[in-house]
Amino acid sequence: MPTLTMAQALNAALRDAMTDDESVVVFGEDVGALGGVFRITDGLTRDFGEDRCFDTPLAESGIVGFALGMAMNGFKPVVEMQFDAFAYPAFEQLVSHVAKMRNRTRGAVNVPMVIRVPYAGGIGGVEHHSDSSEAYYAQTPGLKVVTPATVEDAYSLLREAIDDPDPVVFMEPKKLYWSKAEVSLPARTEPFGRAAIRRSGTDATLVAYGPTVPVALEAASAAEDEGWNLEVVDLRSIVPFDDDTVTASVRKTGRCVVVSEAAGFAGVSAEIAARVQERCFHSLAAPVLRVTGWDIPYPPPIIEKHHLPGVDRVLDTVARLQWDDEPDHRFLEAVPA
């Protein structure tokens, strides 16, 4: 099987979708001749022509609004927001129109489109180039929010996003663009709304998505030395959410740690922790803990490593899951007799 990077898999997904469906159009800033700053659209203009893949003026709200208009009229736009923070100008279009158009017209007007957002950090980017913005979209009813962690999922989820009848915010973990795997395309993995067990274990469940999935897997291997057998769940799809898989895993292991790169406060990690304890309370031997970025603006490159949840931070947290009922030194509480 050929070895591909996630970037190549995303490019292949766009190519195959454009080949299969004439109505798919790709546009955004620098996606044409340049092929995008991350080369995800490399060669699309050359091979499909500027009618199918084209550069736009520099205006994100305009890009998303223009895409919505095209979607109202029979096209399936796949637009690229150059970086996470540069999708913010399009926020009103996404929240007030893209997310609501189907609902406000009782299904008469559908706007299938994909908003590709390269997100999160770990690439030494300067300010505004490493935001984890998934919570803004996950909090917005009407949007689907998915994020791949593997090369195969990158291809499959993007194809599914383009085929989906609803608008999809497709979050691409920048630091995984260059991750490699042997895959034979076209590959189709599990559909939206299904999480994947990336590693099965018995002692505790690590729930991760996007950029933190490799971190969770690494932590799980390292945990073996400590005698912990950890299960790793890759959400893949934040909205819709796979309660069945997550709940089954935690009810089995009885312990759960959520690993997310975003600031923790009111982030997607909070939702996961809240849902898990709602649904698995009696199975839990310890509270659901979160390992996240701090509640700070994304740091400058040379110290970003102190912000990002790493293997050690995950292991330290797993260690706090009250294995022998010694209380959590962070959240001391008088245990009622």
Partner: protein, 386 residues
Amino acid sequence: MTTRATGPAAARQAASAPAATGVGDVAGRLLPAGTPIQFLDDDGKPTAKERRGSYQEPSTELLADAYRRMVVGRRFDAQATALTKQGRLAVYPSSHGQEACQIGGVLALRPTDWLFPTYRDSMALITRDIDPVEALTLLRGDWHCGYDPQAHRTAPQCTPLATHIPHAVGLAYAAKRRGEDTVAMVFVGDGGTSEGDFHEGLNFAAVYQAPVVFVIQNNRFAISVPLSMQTAAPALAYKGVGYGIRSEQVDGNDAAAVLAVLQHAVESARAGEGPFLVEAHTYRIEAHTNADDASRYRDADEVAAWERRDPIARLETYLLSTGALTDEDIGGARKQAEVFAGQVRDGLNADPKVDPLELFDHVYAEPTPQLREQRGWLAEELEGDA
């Protein structure tokens, strides 16, 4: 080697030296008339040639039809305001005084063209033959949009200001891409021109040469904020040149002028000559909505001065003078207006019914597991209440 790229519309051209960009003449072609185009003066008398620019007077049949619809439209508007007092409508933004803009605009379109209206453009909706009750659904509050936008080629009325402008541009560009000759007309207010989406939308239209006609209904107010605090431009029509868009300003209380300019704008857009920006100078005679109190921010004599420029009276005078309209026709129009108003009253007297469980049906094509779950919980509640 650079990728060969003609672009969807804009060509990827080599960057030339600035001297080559000196194009005062090009700019001249894009600028509006220094004074708004006018066919009928404030008293309904035909204006002299120089006030008409190069525009053709619309046919008297069309003007007579516009007149009739304006009479009906104004009656409809008054009826809707009355229904707010009886609590039949949550709120209503009147367009009394803007009949020439809204009806003239729609009459310049073909049924196959698209309209992108705002919350204020109810008269434009009924001119598109949308059922008045469906047109008022948003304001009655039983759903967000009451008509089928695809069936009527009329987008949902847009509330977030200027956000529908990029939509119109994308839709028109899509039609052009398919070789259709559809034109999109989008209404925006004077206040809406200050929003970033106005700017981004017009720029996209120019770069892609999308067949869109932008109609600014400059009614002099954004709720309480007067034009003088909204812009320092000589006129809003001067915004076009900065995008390379042909622009015009017109007396928005002169239905003949509005029709003449918009017919030209629509047909030239249809002919592939690119987008067009038209500023229609008019006035919001009523308060912003029934809930607003205009006495807090403007004087009655200002309103009175504009009432003397009433678009219906001006057109009526003119058509009577040409014999294209008779007193009978006028009576007929008024009768038709009363019948229409009656239908609106009856239609809105029925209490709207909405199944609360429908709240979960249109969020996505298929409800997510989370929504199915929540739908069940609400169903439990409703049974509990029942």
